[in-house]
């Protein structure tokens, strides 16, 4: 089931209506668990089997780790290998049968493999990482092991964030589900407004941009201006799409009394590459940082592996660079299985390391000066657009072809199309900028004057009307569903 399907409104209304009359936390948790299974198994109950397998495997592994701490590393290693293998099989099956199998197997065997029709289950990337974080945190003793399987099942299956994040941590969720959630009108309405805002971003912004972006990138003879206008449109589209989904997830969860972490913090206002990753897909980048990057940097066993041969020494900066490279490549692989996603990860690695290298060589007074954001934010946004181009293009060859376009070889038609696309980007950016202004300046003042109910009703009404005005007969899938 998708948030934007009409069935979801009815489903959620029933879930809420029952949820808020249940007398105890446990009843609420059971109800949420049943609702989550119904949500995920709506299309195919077979998917539930995989979800349950992943969740129960983590539950069992965490219990074993707690019971046999000396073997904790091995147990966690086995669980991690199994989880990654499971994810890899589903994620890269299509690439394997298209690119690898024909080179090593006969056509009959390749056809037989292809006939298996292994399809990536929705949300597998997200809930694999999500569940794995619990086991890792138990091993690190960051969170106590849960003996009640219900808690772990709910943590692993919680429907608002199950399919496309945010990737939550046990230490954030368990305290909330341990106590009974009581209905608060303000919080409920706040969640409703947040969910509406998410739907607005998806339907009014992302879905409006999508067909025009597709046209530009599908054109045989796109010009330089068209490609970069299209890239700008794609950058806005993917932000609105993904941030919109996260907002819906957080809003619906808030309506159930459970707070989820923020996943986007105006990423295009980042002034540096490192700041970008603190603002974009925060839950994934923090997951990779905590569970991949830091272990690679500071784990003694990994340091031994990364020791410079012949010297017995490991160099922090070289190791951190290697760790960063592995982390960014893994991030690329998480997003997709084709070579261009490795290129995407590599691009971000180069960007970050270049920034760090340059920044370290700057004079201290320049490094600490905060007044250069008027320059650094637009500059960083330009680099971000390059990464969006890499993301959007279907192949590395197309990336190279479009990067080599001559900015002066435009004809008037192409310029008009590019200008029209820029106008569309302005249409899309206007509400995002208004949201930023609301958050930073207008909202606090309105709240302070006691006008929040008025602002809420005006805003929700306007968003609802805009969503109705923009809705297509067949809503398009969220971009991050493909991951």
């Amino acid at each position: 089931m998708s948030f934007l399907q009409p069935e979801f409104a009815g489903f959620f209304a029933v879930v809420c209506a029952v949820y808020w009359v249940l007398p105890a936390a446990r009843w609420q948790n059971v109800w949420l668990l049943l609702a989550s299974w119904l949500f995920y198994g709506w299309v195919s109950p077979v998917l539930l089997v995989l979800l349950l397998s992943v969740t129960l495997a983590n539950y069992g592994a965490a219990r074993l780790i707690d019971r046999f701490p000396a073997r904790g590393g091995q147990i966690l290693g086995a669980l991690t290998a199994a989880s990654v293998a499971n994810l890899a099989v589903f994620k890269y099956f299509g690439w394997f049968t298209a690119e690898i199998a024909p080179k090593f197997f006969s056509p009959e065997r390749t056809a037989a493999i292809d006939a298996l029709h292994v399809v990536m289950p929705l949300g597998l990337s997200f809930y694999t990482f999500h569940n794995l974080s619990y086991s890792i945190d138990v091993r690190r003793k960051a969170v106590a092991v849960r003996t009640d399987v219900l808690d772990v099942l709910l943590f692993g299956s919680y429907f608002p964030q199950l399919v496309a994040g945010p990737i939550e941590r046990a230490e954030h969720i368990f305290p909330q589900i341990d106590k009974k959630r009581s209905f608060e009108a303000t919080r409920f309405l706040s969640g409703l407004a947040l969910a509406l805002w998410g739907a607005f971003q998806k339907v009014v912004i992302a879905d409006t941009l999508a067909p025009y972006v597709d046209l530009i990138f599908g054109a045989d003879h796109a010009s330089w201006a068209m490609i970069w206008a299209g890239t700008l449109g794609f950058a806005l589209q993917v932000l609105a799409d993904f941030a919109g989904y996260t907002a819906i997830a957080r809003g619906t969860s808030r309506m159930l009394g459970i707070e989820l972490v923020e996943n986007f913090n105006h990423p295009y206002l980042a002034a540096t590459p490192t700041e970008f990753w603190q603002r974009w897909h925060i839950s994934l980048s923090s997951w990779l940082r905590d569970y991949v990057y830091f272990p690679l940097c500071f784990s003694r066993s990994v340091q031994r592996w990364l020791t410079i041969p012949g010297t017995g020494k490991w160099r922090p900066s070289a190791n951190s660079a290697r760790a960063l490279l592995i982390t960014m490549l893994l991030s690329g692989l998480w997003h997709g299985s084709t070579p261009k996603f490795l290129l995407w990860g590599l691009y971000h690695f180069v960007l970050i390391t270049t920034y760090i290298t340059v920044e370290r060589r700057l004079p201290k007074h320049l490094r600490d000066a905060g007044g250069w954001r008027w320059l650094t934010v637009p500059l960083m946004f330009c680099w971000t657009l390059v990464s969006m181009l890499i993301w959007r293009e279907p192949t590395a060859a197309r990336i190279a072809e479009h990067l080599k376009l001559n900015p002066f070889a435009e004809n008037a038609d192409q310029l008009i199309v590019a200008t029209s696309m820029l106008g569309l980007c302005a249409y899309a950016a206007a509400p995002l900028l208004f949201a930023l202004a609301w958050e930073r300046w207008l909202g606090p003042r309105v709240t302070h004057r006691g006008l929040q109910p008025v602002a809420w009703s005006v805003g929700c009404t306007a968003m609802a009307l805009a969503i109705l005005a923009s809705a297509q007969a067949q809503p398009s899938a969220f971009v991050y569903f493909q991951f």
Binding site: F408, D413, H448, S457
Partner: protein, 839 residues
């Protein structure tokens, strides 16, 4: 939406707050007021003032008398240009006013517009041109968005409207609200998309949204977001109306017979006011046949009724069109509309629309049935070539290549194949791929060859048959009622195909013309002497002319209401024939009764170029516009030109008559002639021009090519590419052949859109043969007698170098800008496609 708490202000900064109850009241009051505003009943109707659209039409009607009035739906508003029609219909120009209404208007709306906007305001046009699809003409009961368009026109329904269409009341309030919200969103999106473009180009000329639509079509072809009828396309059905119709329960109610439509009432109203009514059914882009929305029987009935009512009938659905002329799948863009309108003006004059005599009656499509005489026979390849793989073999059928056409191949290989390949009695399956190293039981078309993978390496002999099934007796215009399973009209050696035409209505003129086009496939053993098919029409033998791919005939037959037959037979050792097209025409009108959905392809047997001989010594038809030359010969082209490009070249006694045909576009509706028309019209030293299915040839010494004893051949150059880039304010593309002195001109009035002037120029050029690394062209640019640029430019840098114009030619400066290119003889042919101007 923010999780952050509000900032704490110092006590002296606290401001007065609204009491909580008033805040709650305001919170609920505002959405309620918005709902009321959006759901208010429409202002127009039986008791309201005219709508904005109606008021604007009234104003237009009162601006002055009109000789010609255009009504109809968006196809009339966008495809028929009132100004062009005015100029084209006469000298002095006839004043033409358009009252067309886009957005899915239908016959009741046009009836009301004529009644309340045209005649009620005192206009008495001589000619009313109704541009619409038959499906809209057949609408009597309307769905909700169509009804909304009617309500914006009508003040008082008359008896006819009340009986057929008027519903009274209002659409549901929530639908009105949704409609209004979607309209505003659409307008906002258009403003963002087109506002900057419109501002840049300033006042005058096409609007910003029109420019965006034209540019989108040029860049993306016929398929772009605007083709979906999305926001920003002027006149196309808006998201609002489509969305409302998707949710409304009321459905469009079509008339069940032609007499029930509004056509009699429209004709009577126009006649009562002393005018003539002509119905123009517009063309559409390939693949969208609006005739499919009404049955063939209904269409025929409408044409007959139009003839009885004295209504002119111009059915343009079969008109060949350049995809670049379309803004979307149904509507022409600005350029296309201009070309189409001029052609319609000619047609209107052909049928006597502005005269005093009776209008030429429509040519009605006859009812057609087809039968086969004789038995289907086996299809024998000229060669059966085994391979080292015991499972594989290849069958060769000369001329079968057209079955490998992309469109047909997809059908034949995965759904149905007209070729039945059997191993003994076991059929093999058509496939898109025949892998090696195993016996698969597949076969695949590859040009004139059929690659076969047997089921058993040592199985029984292969047998080839053509599918003998015929489609059901078609009443529709198309040959096959099921477009996914085209029935191919095979005529096997030793058999005949007999078409029977039944026209219950006598065509108005004494004779009409029958054109038939036939393709041929050569089996083993056939020789040209014995292979000539026989054609008889109405029992009389008719002459078949040989073409490169088969035969064609053009026969005049007497008009009759009795059934008559057309019989095509192939001798026992003759060819396999396919009847590709049969067309009936009379007085400028044409009805295509058989059409096969594919074009023949040449069998290219060697890379680069292959020669095939097709010499048809046919003098020019009587009444051509060409003059100044004794005669010009044409030969049948193997395939039509591709809108301004041709891969064909012509040799005279083995010598190239022209290197590549030049492009010399002229403004007619038919596809641009990819050749130099002046070569044919005037003494020119020889040349060729590819137009449609013909290649016109002019001899090198301007002698009579049909009788000068020389051999002319059409040569196919598979290496040549066709380029279609355009610049809206730049001259047409042009070739610079080796040794050429080419002048390109940027006219002064084309510089109007520029804001400052011409400060630099970028020439865009392409070539099919790579030039030498040091190849250059000399470019001299001047205007008003002043040289602005003069230098050698490396050919390889033509697309990358901006040529500075010094002194610059400012916007207000007079004079055309001449760009003179001298290309040395050792250069390849260079095609200049577009110019970029540095403003």
């Amino acid at each position: 939406m923010s999780d952050q708490p509000p900032p704490t202000l110092a006590p002296q900064q606290r401001v007065a707050r609204l009491p909580r109850w008033s805040a709650l009241v305001a919170a609920t009051l505002l959405p309620t007021l918005a709902a009321f505003a959006l759901m208010r009943p429409p202002d127009v109707g039986s008791d309201g003032p005219p709508s904005e659209v109606a008021a604007a039409m009234d104003q237009r009607a009162r601006a002055g008398p009109a000789d010609v009035v255009i009504v109809g739906d968006s196809s009339a508003e966008l495809d028929l240009n009132a100004d062009v029609l005015s100029d084209a219909l006469g000298d002095p120009p006839l004043r033409t006013v358009s009252f067309a209404r886009s957005g899915g208007s239908t016959a009741p709306v046009w009836y009301t517009i004529l009644r309340d906007r045209v005649y009620a305001n005192g206009l008495h046009p001589r000619l009313v041109v109704l541009g619409a699809y038959l499906s809209a003409l057949s609408a009597v009961g309307l769905d909700d968005d169509e009804y909304a368009l009617l309500r914006e026109q009508v003040n008082a329904p008359d008896a006819l409207l009340s009986e057929k269409t008027w519903r009274g009341g209002h659409p549901p309030a929530w639908e009105l609200a949704l409609d209004r919200v979607k309209s505003r969103r659409s307008a906002l999106l258009t403003t963002f998309r087109s506002g900057l473009v419109g501002w840049w180009y300033g006042d005058g000329g096409p609007s910003g949204s029109e420019r965006v639509t034209v540019a989108s079509t040029a860049v993306f072809g016929g398929v772009h977001a605007d083709a979906q009828g999305q926001d920003g396309v002027p006149g196309a059905q808006s998201n609002a109306t489509r969305a409302v119709s998707a949710t409304s329960a009321a459905k469009h109610v079509p008339a069940t017979s032609p007499a029930e439509t509004y056509l009699p009432a429209l004709a009577a109203m126009v006649a009562e006011h002393g005018g003539r009514l002509v119905l123009v059914v517009p063309p559409s882009a390939a693949g969208d046949d609006p005739k499919k929305h009404v049955s063939a029987e209904f269409a025929r009935g409408m044409a007959q009724l139009a003839g009885q009512l004295g209504v002119g009938w111009l059915d343009e659905t079969d008109r060949a069109t350049d995809p670049a002329d379309f803004a979307d799948s149904r509507h022409l863009n600005t350029r296309g509309a201009q070309k189409y309108t001029r052609a319609i003006a000619d047609r209107l004059q052909d049928i006597g629309a502005l005269g005093t005599g009776s209008l030429a009656a429509p040519l009605l499509p006859p009812i057609v049935s087809v039968a086969r005489e004789g038995e289907a026979s086996d299809f024998t390849p000229t060669a059966l070539t085994p391979s080292a793989d015991p499972c594989r073999t290849t069958a060769h059928f000369p001329g079968l290549g057209f079955l490998s056409d992309d469109g047909l191949h997809a059908v034949t290989s995965t759904v149905h194949s007209p070729l039945i390949v059997e191993e003994g009695t076991a059929p093999l399956a058509p496939s898109t791929d025949v892998p090696d190293q195993s016996c698969w039981g597949f076969y695949q078309f590859a040009g004139d060859d059929v690659a076969i993978s047997r089921q058993h390496a040592d199985g029984p002999p292969l047998r080839f048959r053509l599918d003998p099934s015929l489609p059901a007796a078609p009443l529709a215009i198309d040959a096959a009622p099921d477009p996914t399973l085209p029935g191919i009209y095979w005529v096997y050696p030793g058999t005949a195909l007999v078409w029977t035409f039944e026209s219950p209505w006598t065509p108005p003129d004494p004779t009409y013309d029958v054109d038939i086009e036939v393709l041929r496939v050569d089996p083993a053993g056939a020789t040209d002497d014995e292979a000539v098919p026989e054609l008889t029409i109405m029992g009389q033998p008719a002459t078949l002319l040989t073409t490169a791919t088969g035969y064609r005939a053009h026969v005049a037959v007497p008009s009759t209401s009795a059934p008559w037959s057309l019989r095509l037979s192939s001798p026992a050792r003759g060819h396999y024939l396919i009847v590709r097209e049969v067309t009936l025409s009379q007085g400028g009108q044409r009805v295509r009764v058989v059409r096969q959905p594919f074009w023949p392809r040449i069998n290219v047997v060697e890379k680069g170029a292959v020669a095939f001989t097709g010499r048809t010594p046919e003098p020019l038809p009587v009444g051509t516009v060409y003059s100044g030359k004794p005669s010009t010969m044409w030969m049948a082209a193997p395939f039509p030109d591709t809108a301004g490009c041709s891969q064909l070249r012509v040799t005279e006694n083995g010598h190239l008559l022209t290197r590549y045909p030049r492009v010399d576009a002229y403004d007619v509706f038919d596809p641009m002639a990819p050749g130099n028309h002046k070569v044919l019209m005037f003494p020119s030293g020889g040349g060729a021009e590819h137009v449609g299915n013909r290649v016109w040839v002019s001899a090198s010494d301007d002698s009579d090519a049909a009788s000068n004893g020389r051999s002319y051949q059409i040569v196919y150059d598979g290496e040549r590419k066709c380029w279609h880039r355009e610049c809206p304010f730049c001259p047409d593309r042009a070739w610079a052949d080796p040794g050429d002195h080419l002048t390109l001109t940027l006219p002064a009035d084309a510089r109007q859109p520029l804001r400052a002037g011409v400060y630099g120029l970028m020439l865009n050029a392409v070539w099919d043969v790579d030039p030498a690394p040091d190849a250059t062209v000399h470019v001299h640019i001047e205007a008003a007698g002043v040289a602005r640029y003069d230098a050698d430019v490396p050919v390889a840098e033509l697309n990358a170098r901006e040529l500075p114009i010094r002194p610059p030619l400012r916007r207000g400066d007079p004079g055309d800008l001449d760009i003179i290119v001298d290309s040395p003889a050792e250069n390849p042919a260079i095609l200049f496609t577009a110019y970029g101007v540095q403003d």
